[in-house]
Symmetry: C2
Subunit: 465 residues, 2 copies
């Protein structure tokens, strides 16, 4: 036989059946939560006029090189099986930039929902996986300053408010302010990247530890580190921008002034959008990725809904920034397309919502079945099959048990378990009289209706509920 | 500067900017078509009571070993970067079976929409890619025979009819009938797999070529090949099943009789579902994958809508079958969970629908924007930003141009290009009078309405259209 060659796996090796490290299956319950959140996120992207794009899961390896700085080691490469060298995408931003350059698109507002892969040490308890979903919104094109940037922050606010995750704040900074700050503090230009990566850790480890890393590991002079320390402890609103404009050192740096000027304009627009109080200018915000060139931002939840009960720290739930030079890296002539965008950390949001549902013991329906076709009778499979086909053909979501002679009680229990609201019951007597019973699972009420009116009656009931 | 290290790619190597071989980006136009088709397919799966599941893009390499027969060479492996050996999933069926075994699930009706990867020689003109989307529906569990199998065929009919792809037929066969046929024709058991793979090519190459492959390449005796040839040219309905029951050779084989018995029952249920005339018992249907154990099926379009104009052959658009032993291969104790399922070849369906839209010159809107915020005035950005935020907060899909002083004509042209139905126009005069103009792009009619009634008026108009 063909199938005789299929042997149970365990005869071949002592293997454990599992998903790869840092990955997981998503159960139907999880998929329901996930879809609700994604619908909400995508709904917001569409509200802002974005088109949807999709790119392959892997790219030519060289497309991803020198885009991610220290994190490049986390890229998954594919095995060389002949042909091109490939890597799994690390984010959705670099593929978007590649798409723009490849198709010579100069202007585009797009969103992309898809998985990305990073070989990080998985600390699953914090909702970090090696495979995770990202929801990105980006605006590419040469426009008047800070208008698209402000819209990105507005979108982040709409999504985080809409998902009711509790209070949040969006930290904002600018790469040029960071560059200027490093310059005026006396960081050698060759160390900008490395020091920027250290600063980026300030939301996870203390200033003392960051300072130690900069001095002991990255060879920064202690007094330079201390000068940085004075700046990165600053955060506030428009008044802090004004203060930095007056800062004796920073105000001497052209880059920093450009960044501060843009931030000032940004806050003007944020005020018009009614979200200025959600935004904090924070000189400690660095963002790890190499490709940012201007404004950067990161949204953090101030208190997760379940924090009182459990220490469940999720940190950043959305982030983004301006990357004006990335598309140019792909263009044969180096033509630039300025871009700004954001990425929603849906994986962390899923964890929070899941946790909250567990805490409140909410039950989730994993199917949408509206009607169950049942019988109390033996040998009634043919009638059940004919009837359910009629319901399906009318667009009604219907199920039956795959048994020739199921017990009525088993059938009714199934409906209660699955939350199916209506049951159609057919039997010999009803068949003779040309009627059929329609039962409400919740109230256990049964009514007899004419066989030919069944579909119309069901549709009426479903539209009322 | 941080960003000074970002150099255009072309300075580093003479590279061509492209997606990996056999893959492609999906443009916003393509995504709109794709989403419509996927919504329809998923809608059907939900109508049949399926839950949604998701699994990682890659699996432990050993999970995929010995599941795909001759096709195993097409699996994408990941590079060994330390840790587990991984492969990209080749289909959604094996991950489903792994999920069932791993979680000891004995019963489940699930659907899964996701990408799979196969290193095939891409002949893109036929809609075959190395990365493609699959939509799978499967029923796992021990049930009375052929009821879930019949439902799978019903689902295929509903989807193919619903998508209006033109006339189609679903070929049905059974692995046990194939096994029996090989046995009674005199194929040595060791060659069952190889001969089955040859037979599977009958939809692409002629019997003559298949016969040549079996005899010359696979060492089958010519008279054995000819005996097979007599069978594989048979196709028909219930009467062919009866005929095969009487076949002097086949009727001597227990396996074949089991298969024929199940097919007979299947046709009984298909008749009750009203789809028997769409189904053809076809002894040439083999299906390439190793894991099938019982009934197998494959839907083919009889004539694609555009075939008249262009030779655009898409072949199989949906397929599936019964695989009762696959879950057992993963279970440490070899416990079996019988399964039956189907996979919709959405990639080919996309090609057909895209082709059809091109033929008919249909224009596709790639955004859903309902209202555009415009002004004829200079220095009106602040008012536009305040107004659009109000619309967004009311859930209205709205856009504006990211310019301080756009020309009115440019703004109105944008609306026409993008198919945006409504324009809100604000200017100084209107501001003073506390009114605002609402313009219909199609009719070019403008009405003045009170500023405070704007959102309500827009919502009213949108609900009417």
């Amino acid at each position: 036989m063909l199938t005789s060659q299929l042997k149970p796996q365990q005869e071949k090796s002592n293997f454990i059946i599992k998903t790869p490290k840092g990955t997981r299956d998503l159960s139907p319950q999880q998929m329901v939560v996930r879809e609700k959140i994604l619908d909400m996120v995508v709904g917001c992207f569409k509200r802002h006029g974005a088109k949807r794009l999709d790119t392959p899961a892997f790219e030519l390896k060289e497309m991803l090189t020198e885009k991610y700085g220290e994190d490049s080691g986390l890229i998954y490469d594919l095995k060389d099986q002949g042909g091109e060298l490939l890597s799994l995408r690390y984010d959705l931003t670099v593929p978007f930039a590649r798409y723009l350059a490849m198709n010579k698109v100069k202007k585009m507002k797009r969103y992309h929902v898809g998985k990305v892969w990073r070989r990080e040490s998985p600390t699953i308890v914090q909702g970090r996986y090696r495979e995770f979903c990202q929801c990105d919104f980006d605006i590419a094109g040469q426009f008047d300053p800070m208008i698209p940037d402000a819209e990105c922050l507005k979108i982040m606010c709409e999504i985080l408010s809409g998902l009711q995750l509790g209070d949040f704040i969006i930290k904002v900074n600018d790469r040029r302010i960071l560059d200027g700050m490093f310059a005026v503090c006396g960081v050698p230009e060759s160390k900008f990247h490395a020091i920027c990566s250290s600063i980026d850790k300030l939301d996870k480890i203390s200033w003392k530890d960051v300072r130690h890393e900069m001095v002991a590991k990255k060879g920064l002079a202690p007094e330079v580190a201390d000068r940085i320390g004075d700046y990165v402890q600053c955060h506030g609103g428009v008044s802090l921008i004004e203060q930095m404009f007056q800062d004796p050192r920073l105000s001497q740096n052209k880059q920093a002034l450009d960044g501060l000027g843009d931030l000032k304009l940004l806050f003007e627009y944020l005020t018009l959008f009614g979200i200025a109080e959600k935004i904090s200018f924070d000189l400690s915000l660095a963002r790890g990725l190499d490709y940012y060139t201007g404004v950067i931002y990161e949204a953090v939840l101030l208190q997760t809904p379940t924090q009182a009960q459990e220490s469940f720290n999720v940190g950043s739930v959305a982030a983004g920034g301006r990357y004006d030079k990335l598309v140019g890296m792909f263009d044969p002539k180096g033509h630039k397309v300025p871009c700004v965008g954001l990425s929603i950390g849906v994986e962390r949001i899923f964890s929070i919502v899941e946790q909250r549902m567990k805490t409140f013991g909410q039950k989730i329906r994993t199917t949408e079945t509206q009607v169950f076709v049942a019988t109390p009778q033996k040998n009634f499979l043919h009638e059940r099959l004919k009837l359910i086909a009629e319901l399906w053909d009318a667009g009604i979501k219907a199920e039956l048990l795959y048994k020739n002679n199921p017990k009525l009680l088993t059938q009714l229990h199934y409906c209660e378990d699955m939350g199916i609201p209506l049951v159609v019951i057919i039997g010999e007597q009803e068949m003779k009289e040309g009627i059929i019973k329609l039962r409400s699972v919740a109230s256990r009420e049964e009514v007899a209706i004419k066989r030919e009116n069944l579909v119309a009656e069901i549709q009426k009931r479903l539209s009322e509920s």
